[in-house]
């Protein structure tokens, strides 16, 4: 079949002073009607730039250096800017990662969908309105008329993305480009969006270029896969082949880094409880008392963390898992219930004493380190706050850097000189500097690329064994939970709906929500091939 969209030898040049000369070099791809081509890669691999280059929406300073982009026999690179505007939206639809920023908060949803028709067609108002309602229904919004009247902030994340897809589909383009359209969404919402895109391309025979970093999503939706590394396509082929028999060492390493949706080998777990949560509630009240909204962030949550074990707290956004983590380290005070650390009520322990016994690692490695302090200082800060003199504290910081597999000489550098994975290791060293017995980790690997994620998880597993750490590990990712947790608690709407050994929860879930969550994990039927050897990830290890 002839390709709906083909990219031939595309090179995109970065402005001088960037970390490499070409964002994308000599990339050739083709998508046929009705096919989903997944462009997979880690951050910085040039996958999004490729998608933007097709529509000629490159950031300033970034230019196409060579190659052709053929859409139905026409070279897009040669078109004038005004001709290009008639292509965007009409013949190629685009879905973005963050629907909140891709939509205008000041206009009603219906008007934003109608905008496409007003720009590209001569339809009358009534006809446009009719088409908008049909479209909104097509993308699975339950009440299209109400959705058309709504403003963006009144919709949930998944609904917003459905509106984004409706806009992209409005003129029934031959090609749909989706740039990480489900990355910002919860896993159950993601499953819905993936099913929607899959159904639409079948029905409309669209060619879909789907950019993602997630091999689970690839397994779910792709017909063919192209793997990019440093702007070069290193492997391309049918999805089943690439996923199960990867050829290129980089693809093999990436796939080996994907945690299987299965529990890790069982470890002996102590009977003794080090941290107990007993009937903890936290309620937020917002708004004036007429329109008062009460949110039960935590609703009588009870959990127990055995000494030396890792307890995974799994849930979607709004489930209360982060609130729980913050209550454990006393960043928040619960409204009711008790939290006991080694049998002692934590509110009875002085704040500074508690800080030595329970540490925390945060989600965002870019936000959790003060940008104006050197790495050594950041790590030494804890001990210094608790009375250690500067010189021994700095010496300790160097030891800790070695412990988290970083060069002790990095103590003199600033956080912005490090990659996300390295920063997360610095944050870990900082949390461990006070030698806590319990470590609370709030989504510590969620912001990281899959290969880096695997390294940080391995480091955590190694450290907890060496230091005898007990861990509360908050995550939205069941694969990650399976890899590191001994026990898993599933949270929904502030309540723990299921708790038990990781193997039981993942393999024999009792609660209906846990089952729904497991059923939504993308690529759950695909088990990453274990025989794929994991070569050293030299490029991303740094």
């Amino acid at each position: 079949m002839t390709a709906a969209l083909s990219i031939e030898g595309l090179s995109v040049r970065l402005p001088p002073g960037a970390d490499r000369e070409f964002a994308v070099r000599d990339v050739s791809l083709a998508v046929t009607p009705g096919e989903v081509l997944c462009l997979v890669g880690e951050s910085g691999s040039g996958k999004s730039i490729t998608a933007s280059a097709v529509l000629r929406l490159l950031p300033p300073g970034v230019t196409v250096a060579g190659g052709r982009v053929m859409l139905g026999g026409e070279d897009l690179a040669a078109l004038s800017e005004s001709a290009m505007r008639r292509v965007r939206g009409a013949r190629i639809g685009m879905v973005f990662q963050e629907p909140m920023t891709a939509l205008n908060p000041l206009h009603r949803v219906g008007d934003q969908v109608a905008e496409t028709f007003r720009t590209h067609t001569r339809l009358g108002r009534a006809a446009i309105r009719q088409r908008v309602l049909v479209l909104l229904e097509q993308v699975g919004l339950p009440d299209p008329a109400a959705a058309a009247r709504a403003y963006v902030h009144q919709l949930s994340g998944g609904q917003r993305q459905r509106v984004g897809i409706a806009i992209a589909l409005a003129l029934e383009p031959a090609v749909l480009i989706a740039d990480e359209p489900t990355t910002a969404l919860d896993v159950t919402t993601q499953a819905g969006i993936l099913a929607l895109i899959d159904g639409l391309r079948r029905r409309l025979g669209m060619a879909v270029l789907f950019v993602t970093h997630d091999f689970g999503v690839v397994a779910e939706i792709a017909d063919r896969v192209a793997v990019t590394q440093h702007g070069v396509v290193v492997e391309q082929g049918r999805a089943a082949d690439v996923l199960n028999r990867p050829q290129h060492p980089y693809t093999r390493a990436l796939i080996a880094a994907v945690p299987p949706l299965a529990p890790a080998p069982k470890r002996p777990v102590s009977d003794e409880t080090i941290l107990a949560v007993e009937g903890v509630s936290k309620t937020y009240r917002t708004g004036a008392w007429r329109a008062r909204r009460v949110v039960h962030a935590l609703d009588r949550v009870s959990l127990a963390l055995p000494r030396g074990a890792t307890l995974g707290v799994v849930g979607e956004s709004g489930s209360g898992k982060s609130t729980l983590a913050r209550c454990l380290v006393r960043l928040l005070a619960p409204d009711a219930g008790r939290i006991k650390l080694e049998g002692e009520d934590i509110t009875a322990i002085p704040m500074r004493e508690a800080a030595r016994r329970i540490g925390m690692v945060f989600q965002d490695p870019y936000g959790s380190l003060n940008p104006r302090r050197r790495v050594g200082e950041l790590i030494a800060q804890g001990p210094m706050v608790h009375g250690m003199a500067r010189a021994p504290a700095m010496a300790r910081a160097r030891e800790l850097l070695a412990l988290v597999a970083l060069d002790p000489a990095s103590a003199d550098r600033f956080p912005h000189e490090f990659s996300g994975g390295q920063r997360q290791r610095i944050a870990l060293a900082r949390a461990l500097a006070l030698e806590p017995r319990v470590l609370v980790a709030d989504e510590p690997v969620s912001a990281l690329d899959v290969s880096v994620q695997a390294q940080v998880l391995a480091l955590l597993a190694d450290l907890r064994a060496r230091l005898g750490l007990s861990m509360v590990f908050v995550t939205h990712d069941l694969r990650v939970a399976g890899r590191i947790c001994d026990r898993i608690a599933v949270m929904k709407d502030g309540r723990v709906v299921e708790e038990g050994p990781a193997a039981d929860v993942l393999l024999h879930p009792r609660d209906s929500y846990t089952r729904a969550l497991l059923a939504s994990v993308p690529g759950r039927d695909w088990t990453p091939p274990l025989d794929a050897p994991a070569p050293a990830l030299t490029s991303s290890l740094s």
Binding site: M351, R352, A355, N370
Partner: protein, 273 residues
């Protein structure tokens, strides 16, 4: 610094600021005598007598000497008043933004009370009550100039306190003042530094206005005093007021341009322009 000089308004601002500083530094060396002492005939026009390149005022004092010594006074008043205003403003804003709630409510109502009163009227009242010595004038200018910097600091603290690095410091058991001083304040400083230039320009203008009305310290050779003295001969010897006026314009312009340049250099989003 290099980034600062890349934009020409900032470069001009820096050059003019250096010029004013040089004038202040050279004043004692170029005009060792008391600038307020009688030097010659009153109202010699600029250029008429090579001994007085900028002429003399209606009391026969050397205008050039007063302009050079005035640079010292203006810079001293500007810097001290700015330090006072930013000190009060940062303290109030930091406490309000960090603790929120009742502390914020009380401190911000006080700030608003100061903001709703016209600064100059308040300054007049303060000078009328406490007298017009150079110290009280400087302190009074600082006291009327702090509210805006308090609001700015508060806004910065409100957003920064929610950042994860602040939470991570609290988890380490750091005390509130350690977090405020060591963690949040350094990150809140760039916009405050930029705003300092606005306060400084305003302080110089306030002092001149006060002196023009004859309410500042008459024993100091400030530009405002000279303008005030020229008021009586505005029709016959307009240069007596105009020359120090130009000095004030140049200084305020210099400081403002420098502040704008700092803003551009410190704001990463504008960097690429």
């Amino acid at each position: 610094m290099i980034r600062l000089l890349r934009s020409w308004p900032a470069a001009i601002g820096l050059a003019l600021t250096l010029l004013v500083i040089a004038a202040a530094a050279a004043a004692g060396w170029l005009f060792p005598r008391d600038p307020l002492g009688l030097a010659g005939r009153p109202l010699i026009w600029p250029g008429d007598n090579p001994r007085f390149p900028l002429g003399t005022d209606n009391s026969g004092r050397d205008i050039a000497a007063q302009v050079f010594h005035g640079a010292r006074v203006s810079l001293a008043i500007g810097l001290s008043a700015t330090a006072i205003a930013l000190g009060i403003g940062t303290l109030v804003g930091a406490l309000a933004g960090y603790y929120r709630g009742a502390v914020d409510l009380v401190l911000m109502r006080i700030t608003e009370a100061f903001q709703t009163l016209p600064a100059f009227l308040l300054l007049l009242v303060l000078v009328a009550v406490f007298g017009g010595s150079i110290t009280t004038v400087t302190v009074a200018i600082g006291v009327v100039s702090w509210p805006a910097s308090a609001r700015l600091t508060r806004a910065e603290f409100l957003t920064l306190r929610e950042r994860e690095f602040v939470a991570s410091c609290r988890v380490l058991g750091m005390r509130d003042w350690q977090i405020m001083l060591g963690e949040i304040l350094p990150n809140a400083l760039p916009p405050l530094l930029v705003y300092a230039s606005v306060v400084m320009a305003g302080a110089i203008l306030l002092e001149s206005a006060l002196a023009f009305l004859g309410l500042s310290d008459p024993n100091v050779a400030s530009w405002g005093n000279l303008i005030g003295r020229g008021r009586g001969v505005l029709r016959t010897g307009w240069y007596v007021s105009a020359i120090p006026g130009i000095a004030i314009i140049v200084t305020v312009l210099a400081v403002s341009l420098l502040g704008q340049g700092l803003n551009d250099a410190l704001n990463p989003r504008l960097r690429r322009k």
